[in-house]
Amino acid sequence: MKKMSKRNYYRRFLSVTKGIFLKNPVLTMGFAVPFVVVATTSLQTAVGLSIGLLLTLVPVGLIMPLLMAKIPQDFQWVDYPLCALIAAFFVLPTRVIVGNISPALMDSVGVYFSLLCVSTLLFAARGKTRKEPDLAKVLLELVKIWIGAAMVLLLVGVVREIFGYGTLWGKALPWVKLRFSGVMVSAFGFILLGFVAALGKKIHRTILAAQIWTARNRGPIKEKLIELAHKMREDEEETPEELPKETVEETSKENQGKEQE
């Protein structure tokens, strides 16, 4: 069984990338959906929100379990406000720094950058364990969750910007002739998110189906090859009997002559 699981590269890939493809925070778990559906209308917005998410998700995910381990059981209810406070502590300076570097980026994100402090994704990633966690493992998980969320944000942002504005990162794309302003509506954001989730599921099912097909067909093909080899051997052994009568007689006469000599 261990050999089988080692050979199953797809399952290994899924378990290693858990949080990116398997159990994606946005597509599977439904966290941070408002940011994807309403705010992400361009690649710039998606990048801005991804930066904001990284700078809130990682500190909150690392600091919260450590803090919660120190807080007595009776005061555990402070986790939500504490979570938002830690996020705000990192979001506010980031807003100023990124705003100075790229004002256009901050303008495109708007109020949603600050709203990241109360994202459901942060509350989900805050951790509830009272034991002191392995920080390296937690960090790895948080990075995977962030990559999963950022991937969806970027994908939705790119699609909406191309079809809505006919641009990519603000630069006009000459091959886009039609522009659909309806793509920018929040309702379409939901539709797009649904399609992305469905596409992911379809790819997953196709790979699984292909795996099952190859696993099922591996046995019979092998058996058929063995059968074929057996048949070929038998044919080789049976050839003298199948020779025409004349040749058999000739060979027998020759043999008799040799024996007389």
Partner: protein, 329 residues
């Protein structure tokens, strides 16, 4: 044991979704004739291309979903025809085709295809193109001036009576013109008498329950009689509200779609009344074109709720009756 394949005794008529859709498609042909009469051969080309786009998308989606191509399924034909008839005759060809593709690929197939859609596909397709190409959908060519296949900027486009009513003005159209549909508007929705005749056909064929359009139009009439312009009377307001825009067309062909309608008769009435109220609220306070279409989409979302409420009401009534009966005993 000999098993004979006969229909169940309570089913008296052969009623299949394909036949229902075929009847609706037949009922959509007369408005097309009128569109050809008023706007020329372009309206026919518009309809043919839209239906073709809907059919091809339906076939591709069927293959994508792992089903075979369902040749007998006439629902994409109906969707395409409805979309085409709700458009101005001068619209570029790609807009109704896009609406048809959106209707089938985004609204119909993700929910499981024919018979499973939550929202009316044609209404959703129209809503999408209204948001994307609103300005191109708000200007209509003058009737009885046949259009060539290629429409250039020389074609004069005017506003429809629905837009004039929304602005607070009164459209100056005579009663004869209103009855004949001889005024600017979507190419298949202005011919009220033809649509009414098609409604009779659908009623005779038992594809439409009379109380659904009646409840919808009745609600609209009540609103129109109560809230209207100072310069016109209640009756004139009712006629204008019914004739202007696509309200009557929506009531006959889209509201009565069996897939999105609730299942219980009382729920259907509540559904139609709600759709009527939302339509009039959109007309008075909304900024969008095709208010009836958007109202229908909004009401579609609550369709199962009406069934649930009616069932729950019936259950409560039954329980009360039982309680009364037990008390009497």
């Amino acid at each position: 044991m000999i098993v004979k394949s006969k229909p169940f005794p309570q089913i008296r008529a052969e009623e299949r979704s394909s036949l229902v859709m075929l009847d609706t498609a037949i009922a959509l042909i007369p408005p097309f004739f009128m569109a050809v009469f008023y706007y020329g051969i372009r309206s026919l080309a518009l309809g043919a291309l839209t239906v073709l786009a809907a059919l091809v998308t339906n076939w591709i989606s069927s293959l994508f979903n792992g089903r075979g191509i369902e040749w007998w399924d006439a629902s994409p034909v109906v969707t395409g025809m409805i979309i085409a008839l709700m458009m101005p005759a001068s619209i570029p060809f790609y807009i109704p085709m896009l609406a048809a593709v959106f209707a089938i690929f985004v609204v119909k197939f993700p929910y499981g295809g024919t018979g499973n859609n939550v929202f009316n596909p044609a209404a959703a397709g129209l809503a999408f193109v209204t948001i994307c190409f609103g300005t191109q959908l708000s200007g209509y060519p003058t009737p009885l001036e046949p259009l060539s296949l290629v429409v250039d900027e020389t074609v004069k486009l005017v506003q429809g009576p629905a837009a004039i009513l929304k602005m607070g003005a009164i459209p100056t159209i005579s009663t004869e013109q209103l009855a004949l549909g001889n005024f600017a508007g979507p190419m298949g929705t202005t011919n009220i008498l033809v649509i009414a005749a098609c409604l009779v056909y659908l009623l005779v064929r038992k594809n439409v329950k009379w109380y659904v359009p009646a409840a919808y139009l009745g609600t609209v009439c009540v609103f129109a009689s109560r809230i209207h312009h100072e310069d016109i009377g209640a009756m004139e307001s009712i006629i204008l509200e019914l004739v202007a825009g696509s309200l009557m067309f929506v009531a006959v062909y889209m509201l009565t779609e069996p897939v999105t309608l609730p299942k219980r008769p009382m729920a259907k009435i509540f559904y139609a009344v709600t759709a009527g109220i939302v339509t009039m609220l959109f007309r008075y306070y909304g900024a969008v074109h095709y208010s009836a279409v958007f109202a229908l989409l909004l009401t579609n979302a609550f369709s199962p709720l009406f069934d649930h409420l009616v069932e729950r009401g019936n259950l409560i009534e039954l329980m009360e009756r039982r309680a009364d009966h037990e008390e009497d005993e």
